[in-house]
């Protein structure tokens, strides 16, 4: 067992964990933050996406003990039922889901995508590596490709993110 502490959604937690515990399992099984979902558990689906120190990662492919002192944001930290994050509200408005299982990961990913575009990080479909990035539909879809939706709500997800991106632009 190894001791680790980190911040989740602004609250410090200290845990004593088997070294094998992934960040995903620490969040779900130990802190009972079940908004973050376990899909494939192999980094292929994106359902477990959380934001660590401002960057989106797959929480299934990292060990909890490797996050000593880190600041972690999960879907529970983005909004509340009474005060939705703008992306949560946009997903509702645009029906950006069917079963909803991938949604927390989609939204955490989308929050980080907007920050990545703002920071000027290019993508595979960015035509000019040395020009500012514009969040076109192609950009958005490429950047969200690590989040799979088996229900196929992609076009509504893209519309929800585009709306928020347009508002904050």
């Amino acid at each position: 067992m190894t001791r680790v502490f980190f911040d989740v959604n602004g609250e410090t937690h200290q845990l004593e964990l088997d070294t094998r515990t992934t960040l995903l399992d620490a969040l779900r099984e130990h802190l009972h933050l079940t908004g973050t979902k376990k899909g494939c558990d192999h980094g292929q689906c994106g359902a477990c996406t959380v934001i660590v120190d401002g960057r989106r990662i797959n929480s299934c492919l990292t060990l909890a003990v490797m996050h000593q002192g880190d600041e972690i944001t999960t879907i529970e930290g983005l909004g509340t039922p009474d005060g939705l994050h703008p992306l949560q509200a946009a997903f509702v408005e645009h029906d950006g889901y069917q079963c909803g299982y991938c949604t927390p990961g989609q939204i955490c990913s989308a929050v980080a995508v907007l920050a990545e575009v703002k920071a000027g990080i290019p993508s595979h479909v960015t035509a000019d590596l040395n020009a500012p990035v514009r969040l076109t539909n192609a950009e958005l879809r490429e950047r969200m490709s690590g989040n799979i939706c088996r229900c196929g709500a992609y076009s509504n997800i893209a519309e929800a993110i585009s709306e928020v991106a347009g508002r904050s632009a």
Binding site: R55, L61, L63, M66, G120, S123, H124, T126, S145
Partner: protein
């Protein structure tokens, strides 16, 4: 996942020493490939040495006008670095063609070089694989091989190296810098880092036990039109069937390295000397010793056409 002990290394030298003196130890940095394989018990380290505290996360100018990329620089940061985007476009392009945003945020420069193959038989623990279990045989030969190697393979293994980044680094003549358990450092040209499978496909690089990659150095910029073109089964978030990293100079000369075709990035200087004669002349030379399977023979023509498209674009 098998149980393991865990430590955080405080210096590169200490990490290398710990790795050499602890039975069945492995370094962990981003962990995106290693943890995946540990869950499947394809990798079963007894001890993990976390190297994330080592100050190897900077990109610095070198005395000869090149760049030294710290081993821990994340793929996202390397692809987005203004100097890399301006002077080493092929490297930015290759990085951005790989994995997903989430994975690139975690995956490191050294880890990307050392990632294991995605051969489906390496992953299927019910079937033989000489790379996973030396001497057990190769289920890929005669199996489902459309994704696998066409050149430089052996009777023991037809796996490919999955990295996009490494293909661009091969075209750029990158040099891998390491520290060994005795504290000695060395520089390994990337052409020599990865081995061909031969009869020991489980040994993938020339790194010695405990040897830690500390940086990758890029020589000073070579200019030219730089491109990385990747052909895959879907438009994003998939491994290459074939990829082409190319640097084409105004006089028509240049460099070409291929991904998705061999156990390492595939570049032959004698082949790229044929660049002025066109794509067919280059790939004919690159694949002179190719031994494709029935299922992956398509890669020979696909590589030629992909290179032709890159050359057309570069010369437009």
């Amino acid at each position: 996942m098998r149980a393991f002990s865990y430590e955080r290394a405080t210096s590169p030298g200490a990490a290398a020493t710990a790795a050499a003196s602890t039975a069945n130890a492995k370094f962990i940095a981003g962990g995106t490939n290693l943890l995946d394989l540990m869950k499947l018990e394809i990798e079963t380290p007894a001890h993990l040495i976390d190297v994330n505290d080592l100050a190897l996360d900077r990109i610095e100018q070198t005395a000869d006008g090149g760049l030294r990329i710290g081993a821990l620089v994340r793929n996202t940061d390397l692809a987005a670095d203004a100097r890399v985007r301006r002077d080493y476009g092929v490297l930015s392009r290759a990085l951005l063609a790989g994995a997903s945003g989430q994975l690139r945020n975690k995956a490191t420069t050294a880890g990307n070089l050392l990632q294991r193959t995605r051969c489906p038989y390496f992953y299927d623990t019910d079937l033989p694989c000489n790379k996973r279990k030396p001497g057990s045989g190769c289920a890929a030969i005669g199996g489902f091989s459309r994704q696998l190697a066409v050149v430089g393979a052996s009777e023991a293994c037809i796996a490919t190296h999955p990295s996009d980044m490494a293909v661009a680094m091969r075209a750029l003549d990158a040099v891998v810098e390491t520290v060994r358990p005795d504290g000695a450092t060395r520089s390994i040209p990337i052409a020599d880092l990865h081995r061909l499978p031969g009869d020991s496909p489980e040994i993938e690089t020339v790194l010695q036990p405990g040897e830690l990659i500390t940086a990758v150095a890029l020589p000073k910029p070579v200019g030219g039109k730089q491109a990385y073109r990747k052909v895959r089964d879907r438009a994003s978030y998939a491994f290459a069937l074939v990829s082409v990293a190319a640097i084409v100079q105004p006089d028509g000369t240049g460099r070409v390295a291929l991904g998705g075709v061999a156990h390492k990035p595939w570049r032959l200087e004698a082949a790229e000397a044929k660049l002025p004669d066109g794509a067919k002349a280059v790939t004919a030379r690159l694949f002179a010793d190719a031994k494709p399977t029935k299922d992956n023979a398509y890669k020979l023509q696909l590589a030629e056409r992909t290179l032709a498209a890159v050359l057309r674009e570069a010369r437009a």
